[in-house]
Symmetry: C2
Subunit: 619 residues, 2 copies
Amino acid sequence: MCDEDRLKLKAQINQQSDIVRKLKAAKGSKDKVTKISIPNAISVKDLTMLDNLLANISYIGGYEPSYADKAMYDVLRGVGWPSSMSHLTRWYQHIKSFSPVELEAFPTGVPTCNNLPPQVVGLLSTNNHGIDIGCKITEEVSHLLNLKAQLGTVEDGSGPHKLILKTPKGTRDYGPSQMAIRADVFNKIISVFKRHGAETIDTPIFELKEVLTGKYGEDSKLIYDLADQGGEILSLRYDLTVPFARYLAMNKISNIKRYHMAKVYRRDNPAMMRGRYREFYQCDFDIAGQYDPMIPDVECVRVVSEILTSLQLGDFLIKVNHRQLLDGLFEACGVPPDKFRTICSSVDKLDKSPWEEVHNEMVNEKGLSPAVADCIGKYVRLSGKTELVEQLLQDEMLVGQCKSARDGLEALRLFLKYCTLYGLQDQVSFDLSLARGLDYYTGVIYEAVLLSDTKTEHGESSGVGSIAGGGRYDNLVGMFDPKHKNVPCVGVSIGVERVFSVLEARLASNKTKVRTTEVEVFVASAQKNLLEDRMKLCKELWDSNIKAEHSYKRNPKLLAQLQYCEEMGIPLAAILGESELARGIVKLRHVVTRHEIEVQRENVAQAVRDLLTKASGNS
Amino acid sequence: MCDEDRLKLKAQINQQSDIVRKLKAAKGSKDKVTKISIPNAISVKDLTMLDNLLANISYIGGYEPSYADKAMYDVLRGVGWPSSMSHLTRWYQHIKSFSPVELEAFPTGVPTCNNLPPQVVGLLSTNNHGIDIGCKITEEVSHLLNLKAQLGTVEDGSGPHKLILKTPKGTRDYGPSQMAIRADVFNKIISVFKRHGAETIDTPIFELKEVLTGKYGEDSKLIYDLADQGGEILSLRYDLTVPFARYLAMNKISNIKRYHMAKVYRRDNPAMMRGRYREFYQCDFDIAGQYDPMIPDVECVRVVSEILTSLQLGDFLIKVNHRQLLDGLFEACGVPPDKFRTICSSVDKLDKSPWEEVHNEMVNEKGLSPAVADCIGKYVRLSGKTELVEQLLQDEMLVGQCKSARDGLEALRLFLKYCTLYGLQDQVSFDLSLARGLDYYTGVIYEAVLLSDTKTEHGESSGVGSIAGGGRYDNLVGMFDPKHKNVPCVGVSIGVERVFSVLEARLASNKTKVRTTEVEVFVASAQKNLLEDRMKLCKELWDSNIKAEHSYKRNPKLLAQLQYCEEMGIPLAAILGESELARGIVKLRHVVTRHEIEVQRENVAQAVRDLLTKASGNS
């Protein structure tokens, strides 16, 4: 940058400072919103600049909507541009989709404005018709800061562009301690699946869009699509069940017992404080095959019970019901068949809403007569064990003319009998209010709930909610088979994200530190110039399959090394010292007790192994 | 379908059969390409039908391009439609992007035509100007088949639409045995990482597009973008290194030793026969932090060596070089600095191409003078151990005026010394031809190659190629930090997909069957009506943490149960029989030897445990 340019820039800065001062004064004198009117002048160059900018970022100010978007939207209203400026068009349509109230709620903060390229700030400050003085100040301050940054950065040679560092909306990184908790949960769950002889499969993270089409009803709008870059139309998987059904049909597999733990994607409004993300894990166990009634169905419940017990989440209850019974009940009460599914979703709300509200919805929103709703209400508030099944089987009104209700009840009778054989009688409850949202269930349905309340990481109550759920879906695979050949399936999904929330909350409230490595011994040096000795000892330990670390510094301080061992929960330290090495020995230190023993240099690996075995025997 | 409609359809079929017959006759009489000219008539209804069709599938014929696309493209040339028909526009632009030669190469087969909706076939057969008779026959045959299918499917009540079942291009499902191999490889690799005290992290599968922008040079075109559905602009991750650098900068982490095993995405031309997919695993180990020279660098090599040894892939060699040495060498030979990177990628080809070809490329394509290329050639064909480093340090031409070359060589001297301390002297070779493609390396670079050739699953030679690679990249994190603060990093990536190919090929050639479950005992019944006894015994076994299964059939045949045990490699079968149960005993059968012992019913779990312990002690 030549001196002349610098002087010019400094003059611009002075001028800009004046504008900011004057605006601040104006704001001080009258605090109400004032419009500043400036003539409209948008060149093709400006539009091209905006299109290029928006090729890489979602909003004018970066990755979040801001006041700058609203301001620029106002500038561009009524302005046309060629359709080849697709990024600008995308952005314009997106901003246009917000309501005026939403637009007003865009943040006005300086941090966002700070990130605006100077040309954008220039365009806004010379063109905007509708900026109140407060925001005008923000913009002009940002303009000033940008000019200063330009002067500074041109001088130090780095670019003025700041990258906003974040993960996409609704997603997060998992750090080492979160991963350690997850690995522990996964291992516990997988060991239950393996105890039941399950295999595992994996499918691609994306599917042909048509595979997902028509499977999720209204929720289809939450599916993430991939961009059309030529070739196939793809979407990220929304759950693991539909890819599983596609896998069975495509590979003509007629029986398998499989588990699948993997991430799925939903463009939902994230509620991250409550542990709801757009990218999250699902953990499914399903048994596919033509088998005798209720035998695989009850094993799924046994698997849920073993998992919840193994994870030590506290008391739980597994509610069960049957889709055929629900349909029969609706039929017996006089619900028109085309309303079965919608009334089913009303019933499904009974775990969160009182009967009166659900009754209202049925009558006022879904058009049932009050008598029909009352009839449903008489039944769906019932829950119990086998004796309730027997009682309902005697209920002439319910089972007299309705095969479906009788079939459902008889299936449940068998199911509950098998539950007892599997030792589940105390954990399972027949609950007529359980309905489950998904359309594809055809038989038994279940849902496990935790009975004890737990606080989340953020101190909110995690509520007493569903932790696992599933059921029988005999017709899904047939939707993929060219000859509509069905493979009956029953399965369950463990709400692992909820499990993580509960465990993280518990660890946080206990202030328990999670170990993120499994290092057994740290090789430390007491003096300088022992790097090579440390490296030799590490080699021996690794050769002996002992988990060992040493400092990557040439001459680390002994205190720093020992502190590291304490922080990381490493049980042992092997301390190398000049005089000890001269005597052919090494000190082994128990990090917690600080107790030290001396061992022969050539026996360190064996001595470490012995100490670790002894310690694990004691614990 | 009423009789009248059926008769009409049958008449249509007869007529269509005539067309096919005549066309076949025409083809027989003159075998050269003949144009059939039919008047153009495209209605808005037709266009709407096409737009709807293309909303869900990528090509007219389904998920792969076919002759039908070319034919329809010819039909639609010069026809306009409203921009709201975005799917049709997408498809048209995509087909337009193919060269005439590529269009001609589209498959003409009947299978694709078979899947065409009848309206499309109708549109093609009444409108197409440029179909030769051969293809015309194909189309008309498909029309005929469609009419027949219509008659058939309307009769059996199912829809005429066939769903093509496939995974997206370049992806695949992993079945249980593939997953078992992967789990075994992952466990072996992870146990090495853990032996070195590494933590693990995970990042979202997609990133803000800008995070990936400008990191991969020309390969950026291979990045998968997500569709713009309002909100942020996202892309699937292309590797694990850039998300790692973003993670460090975002969380202001200045040191970590982490591994990350996860899938990455590249829109490359898949070569699935050679194990190259668009969705594949990467497995990275990196050490970030400001440490003393070469200490973390050499540990990465030690990790690679332990992993390759543990996976028993045969002999391997780890080549090392240094970016500073390469730059110094280029400088000393007189390469202009702006050509360093491009000459670097020429050198990188030396593992596959002879020196003469690389020399040619440098001179003829990249404009080096032959003398400069010769000078490079003199060096890059050298490889050796420490003595080569010492020899080059005496080479006045190389190190006389060039600090960079001397620094690189001295770094390598230290590196090789540390390698010896870690017992790696025989596995590591200093190789001046190693260059590595990625721009971001700043120091030592390495690459492990398998020395023994292995056939892939499909009988192709897997070649003697790279199985791991990495190096130091000190400036990548700074690209994300607002203040450009760098975190020096060094790391290595294990080519796990190649490992899987090699292992799968080996298993296939040994005809080894992989166990996909870990079931220890199968609970069988010798007669009918023992389901409840099987269930009770399973419960006891599961309660005792024994992996157990039984048949989901009420009354399975004993032979079928025992065959299942043999197929699945289950070591033990507990056989329940009426007379045995009456005597209070159960037979335990060793599946392979068919040896049976009798144990008390109440002691089955303990007896199974004892037999398994004994068996594992023997093996």
